[in-house]
């Protein structure tokens, strides 16, 4: 079996599970059996993906069918494009999807069976859509899957749709990403207009042969970047991602950390040869990426909700990847995408375990958890070290590669921002670690009755269950613990493997190698350690008072707490804009349209009134009129007709 065929199996296993779950209602409503079915599909998918990855050797292969017949040749094809990028990404998607589905079995064990069935149906659909996106051989299929993953994201954020915040967050995510998607669609169509194809391979040949007109290409690539900006939560379209945390935590791990949000990075990596033609757009990508990274990192420092810290951290790391792509080294960005997918999924799932045990998202209600749930603490710290960029962990190499590539790309400004972000990343992540896992245990937090129910989205029945859970407060059950350990070991394995044995999971293409300056590694590790030290001094030792630290950065802190007013700005602009526009439309309707109609009707009525008096009702007058009319006609006929 060729790897193309294997990837096809990997793609079709989840969609088969989805179709069965969607059509066979009893299986879906049964809950757990449906979940097992979905997990079966995900397992098959992972097995096929790993086999395809192992068997893949040089040279991209395709397995495509004609689609959209048109004159002469089909307008587009549909199928799979198997190359190094897509196979390794496929493995990541299949792996995280499977682990998250297993994890959810336990995490959502108290959901009603119908809800669980619905959840797994969406999960299967998502796995299929994301793999279809990864394997897409052309922009058209990519766009379709792009929209499908957006739909799944919407459905899963709104899984607890009875909660108004969740419903609102789902809609917000959908519309914000949609704003970028419009740009992507326009970009794809414009690109088709100039190149005549949607296919990556054909386009690449055109680029290699300099057949693509460069004029106007910047607009096209910028439009494509807009799509990536929405999906990958780049400033200013990042506002949806933190709100997306209203969904269940495993969903956040899969969709809003490891896979879907990285679709934008993946798209830019896929089309990096196209973006290489438009360096001006790449500079924009790099600056926005670096700025997003900094903005989100600052925001992450002030959040008290453990999931929101991770969400902003995801935005920040996506900015990192974008910056590397903007510097022209998309492979570095893609490498970070892979490692980030592993450790961020790990962090989210770990946070889910903590939330499950504590019954709250609030950091201030956690503390001393390392003693109660030691295994969770270990894997969470592994993820944190990886994210902070400590050597031997997965994030270290990819992060350093990004810093090196941004430096090599000559982008000093973004490089400085990213170094600052590296410091902040280590700081805010260890703030979470020290607040949640170390320090004094918060006595009151077992008792969730006295508090407002703050667990994101847990139903009322879950509240009591949580209280019961909180009584033993230990490490989570095996279905949750196993994925955590797998991800933790993989994070370390990738880090160690990349450091000592191989050049990383993805080889840099020809000419993309860059020589990082020698001081880069010590500097990167140094700022990370400095961040950790600051967090340790502040939140563990208490040498630095957290309150005085906060007051030192008073204005920034206040601005960050208000999310830099970006949400307010959008709300103001769009709400006020919509209101002003509807007022204008209302005025036009009320005064212009209605006015014209009123004048016309009034004129008709008065004219009719005037004309009435002609109608005397006497037959003789009519005859008189008839006679005069006839006479006039005769005169007219006599003088005007030939």
């Amino acid at each position: 079996m060729g790897s193309a065929f294997l990837t096809l199996i990997a793609l079709l296993a989840p969609v088969a599970a989805f179709l069965v779950l969607a059509i066979v209602a009893p299986l879906r409503r049964a809950g757990r059996p449906g979940a097992y079915f979905s997990i079966l599909g995900a397992t098959g998918s992972l097995a096929a993906a790993v086999m395809a990855w192992r068997r893949y050797d040089e040279g991209a292969t395709r397995l495509v069918w004609d689609w959209l017949p048109s004159q002469g040749r089909p307008l587009a094809t549909i199928g799979v494009l198997v190359d190094e990028t897509s196979t390794v990404m496929l493995v990541l998607v299949a792996l995280v999807a499977l682990l998250v589905q297993v994890y959810s079995l336990s995490y959502l064990s108290d959901e009603p069976p119908q809800g669980l069935g619905r959840y797994y149906t969406y999960q299967s659909l998502f796995a299929f859509s994301m793999m279809g996106l990864v394997l897409a051989p052309n922009l058209l299929q990519l766009f379709i899957c792009w929209e499908l993953v957006g739909l799944c994201s919407y459905l899963l954020i709104g899984y607890w749709y009875q909660k108004p915040e969740a419903a609102r967050a789902a809609v917000k995510a959908f519309w914000t990403t949609k704003a970028g998607d419009v740009g992507l669609l326009i970009g794809i169509v414009m690109l088709w207009k100039v190149s005549g194809t949607f296919d990556f391979g054909e386009m690449r040949v055109m680029v290699a042969g300099n057949e693509l007109p460069l004029a106007g290409l910047s607009i096209i690539t910028f439009c494509i970047y807009l799509g990536a900006m929405g999906k990958s939560a780049q400033f200013p379209l990042h506002v949806w991602l933190p709100d997306a945390m209203e969904g269940p935590t495993p969903v956040s791990a899969l969709i809003h950390a490891a896979t879907m949000v990285t679709a934008g990075v993946y798209l830019l990596h896929r089309t990096s040869w196209l973006f290489a033609l438009t360096p001006d757009v790449l500079v924009i990508v790099a600056w926005i990426g670096a700025f997003t990274a900094l903005l989100a990192a600052v925001l992450a420092c002030v959040q008290d909700d453990i999931k929101r810290v991770l969400a902003y951290s995801t935005v920040s790391q996506l900015g990192y990847m974008m910056a590397a792509i903007g510097a022209g080294f998309s492979t570095a960005g893609f490498f970070h995408l892979l490692t980030h997918g592993l450790f961020k999924a790990l962090l989210f799932l770990g946070a889910g375990a903590v939330i499950h045990a504590v019954g709250s998202n609030d950091l201030s209600r956690m503390g001393g958890l390392a003693r109660r749930m030691p295994q969770t603490a270990i894997v969470f710290i592994v993820g944190t070290l990886s994210l902070a960029g400590i050597p031997l962990f997965a994030g270290f190499l990819s992060k350093e590669e990004i810093l090196g590539s941004v430096w090599a790309g000559g982008l000093v400004g973004p490089f400085a921002l990213l170094m600052l972000v590296a410091f902040l990343t280590a700081f805010y992540m260890f703030r979470v670690v020290f607040l949640a896992f170390f320090g004094p245990a918060k006595a009151g937090h077992y008792d969730s009755h006295g508090h407002e129910p703050v667990v994101s989205g847990f139903s009322q029945t879950h509240q009591t269950h949580d209280a019961h859970h909180a009584a033993h407060h230990g490490d989570p059950p095996a279905p949750m613990l196993l994925p955590l350990w797998i991800l933790a070991l993989l994070s370390m394995a990738v880090g160690i493997y990349s450091t000592f044995i191989g050049p990383g999971l993805v080889a840099a293409p020809e000419g993309a190698e860059h020589a990082a300056p020698g001081w880069l590694t010590p500097a990167a590790v140094g700022v990370a350690v400095a961040g950790i030290a600051l967090a340790w001094l502040t939140y563990q030792r208490g040498t630095i008072n957290a309150a005085s630290l906060a007051s030192m950065f008073g204005p920034i802190r206040r601005a960050a707490l208000a999310k830099f007013w970006i949400d307010d700005l959008f709300e103001g602009v769009f709400a006020a804009g919509a209101l002003a526009f509807s007022r204008l439309v209302g005025w036009v309707d009320r005064y212009l349209v209605d006015g014209v109609l009123n004048v016309v009707s009034a004129w008709t009525v008065t004219t009719g009134d005037e004309m009435r008096s002609i109608q005397t009702g006497r037959a003789q007058d009519y005859v008189y009129g008839l006679a005069v009319g006839l006479l006039l006609l005769l005169v007219w006929a006599r003088w005007s007709l030939p």
Binding site: R612, Q615, T616, G617, R618, A619, Q620, Y622, V623, Y624, A627
Partner: protein, 99 residues
């Protein structure tokens, strides 16, 4: 005498009839005016028939005279009915058509 003389006679009679229809206040007078107009038409028909050497116009005239009689009978009947209802035969009092 040529065709023109007949046509002028018919036109004059038609004009008198029309004048009567338009100006007479009495409904009977209006009916008489209508009779005059119809007969002017008959004169035309006969004159054309005579001068074109075809009998068709004459046949038409015979039919028209019959119909005129019927029309007069109908008209008088209507007038009588009107008088019974409205107690008047003055045309300017009969304005039921007024909008």
């Amino acid at each position: 005498m040529g065709l023109q003389a007949y046509l002028i006679l018919a036109a004059v009679i038609f004009g008198i009839g029309l004048f009567g229809v338009v100006t007479r206040r009495n409904t009977i007078g209006i009916l008489l005016g209508i009779e005059l107009m119809l007969n002017a038409v008959n004169i035309n028909l006969v004159a054309f028939a005579r001068f074109s050497g075809s009998e068709i116009g004459m046949v038409f005239t015979v039919f028209a005279i019959c119909i005129t009689v019927a029309e007069a009978a109908m008209g008088l009947a209507i007038v009588i009915l009107l008088f019974r209802i409205r107690r008047t035969v003055m045309a300017d009092h009969l304005d039921l058509l007024k909008g």
